[in-house]
Amino acid sequence: MYINSYLFILISIDVFVLLGVLVYVYFLYEKERKAWSDHKAALHASEDIVEQAHLRATKVVSDAVEKAETTIKQGDYLRSDLMKSFEKSLQELSSTISVNMSNDEKDFEGDFAKFSESLRAEYLKKINVTLAAIETQAQHEVEVFGSAIQKDTIASQADLAKKIKEESDRALLEIQEYKKQQLKLVDESIEKVLQQVSSEVLSKSLSLEDHEQLIIDSLTKAKHEAFFEKGINVEAKKGEV
């Protein structure tokens, strides 16, 4: 009887210890499971962040491309408008300017110089307005881009922000480069138009008699420059040999 009581106490203690171990193991298991669940949630969250950042980056880049395209189109319009308005003003000017073609070639050149200066002054007036518009537009675009990049990348990872910045900087550079090219084209076109309109106006201003006189002026110059004697000299040398 006494022994049985003793055994019962020992068994109870074992069972109690076993239960304790089981509870501890369960606690550990739960802790691990929660940690794993948290980890998974964190993984999902980070994937979402990356996805969002990627979407934002794509949008910023596509915005940049869109803006570049818009600017390019505006540049085309500006150039086209500029050329149209310049040509129109030159035509108006050419109809009002009286080019009194003299029979003296020196005066004729003077007239052309005066005429050309008038055209250039008119051109300068027009181009200054257009250039100012282009400059203002470019300045505005840079500011808008800057704030868009800052806003869209503030919550993203640093390297992603850097990448977006690089993309947008490249887009800006492309816009600037395009503008340079457009301005160069404008310059070249202006020279061409100036020459075309000048030619047209001068041609219309000259009578056949003026042309005859200008041809004789050319021959006079050639004579003074011994142009007709060069052949003689060459032949004389051949004869001497």
Binding site: E105, L124, I127, L194, S203, L208, H211, L214, K238
Partner: protein, 179 residues
């Protein structure tokens, strides 16, 4: 070639000098095309010299009056007779050779000239340069005004197109825009 012969061929020089002094031959020759026409007339006249008994009479009738008068004067100077077809042949050959040896100035101009314009330019040229020079004329409306000249392998551009280009280049329009 003409002037090279001056020193080595005195007969040729005298002959040329005589021809140049006869206005009848060159008076109405302005362009290379005029010269070709005259050479064709002379060739035709020459080919008919020995064809019939009336050939000498036909000869005078078939030639332009100024050319015939020039031939008469030239024959007198050279002591040749117009009654001989052989002499006439010599005269025609000399004149023909003279015409074919005339220097040619190629004129590039902006407008189509009238015959009067061509005559004025040609006469001015002969008077100023002191020798007969034939013209060939090329039209290029882009030249605006003035002329580009090509003569015995040399070229010179006095057109307003070039002047305008030089002017625009010189004034540096692009720098002007940037200012």
């Amino acid at each position: 070639m003409l002037y090279g012969k001056w020193k080595i061929d005195s007969f040729s020089f005298t002959h040329r000098y005589m021809i140049i002094q006869l206005p009848g031959i060159f008076e109405n020759l302005f362009t290379n095309s005029d010269a070709s026409d005259l050479v064709a007339i002379l060739d035709k006249a020459k080919s008919e010299l020995f064809t019939s008994a009336d050939s000498l009479q036909n000869f005078s009738e078939n030639l332009p009056i100024n050319i015939y008068q020039a031939i008469v004067e030239f024959a007198k100077e050279q002591k040749l007779t117009l009654a001989s077809p052989n002499d006439l042949e010599i005269i025609i050959d000399k004149i023909r050779e003279e015409i074919l040896n005339l220097p040619v100035l190629n004129l590039q101009i902006a407008v189509v000239p009238t015959p009067k314009n061509v005559m004025n330019i040609s006469r001015w040229l002969s008077a100023q340069i002191g020798k007969k020079i034939l013209l060939t004329i090329e039209i290029n409306h882009d030249l605006v005004a003035g002329a580009a000249l090509e003569f015995e392998g040399f070229y010179k551009d006095y057109t307003f197109k070039t002047k305008m280009e030089d002017y625009l280049k010189k004034t540096k329009l692009r720098d002007f825009i940037r200012e």
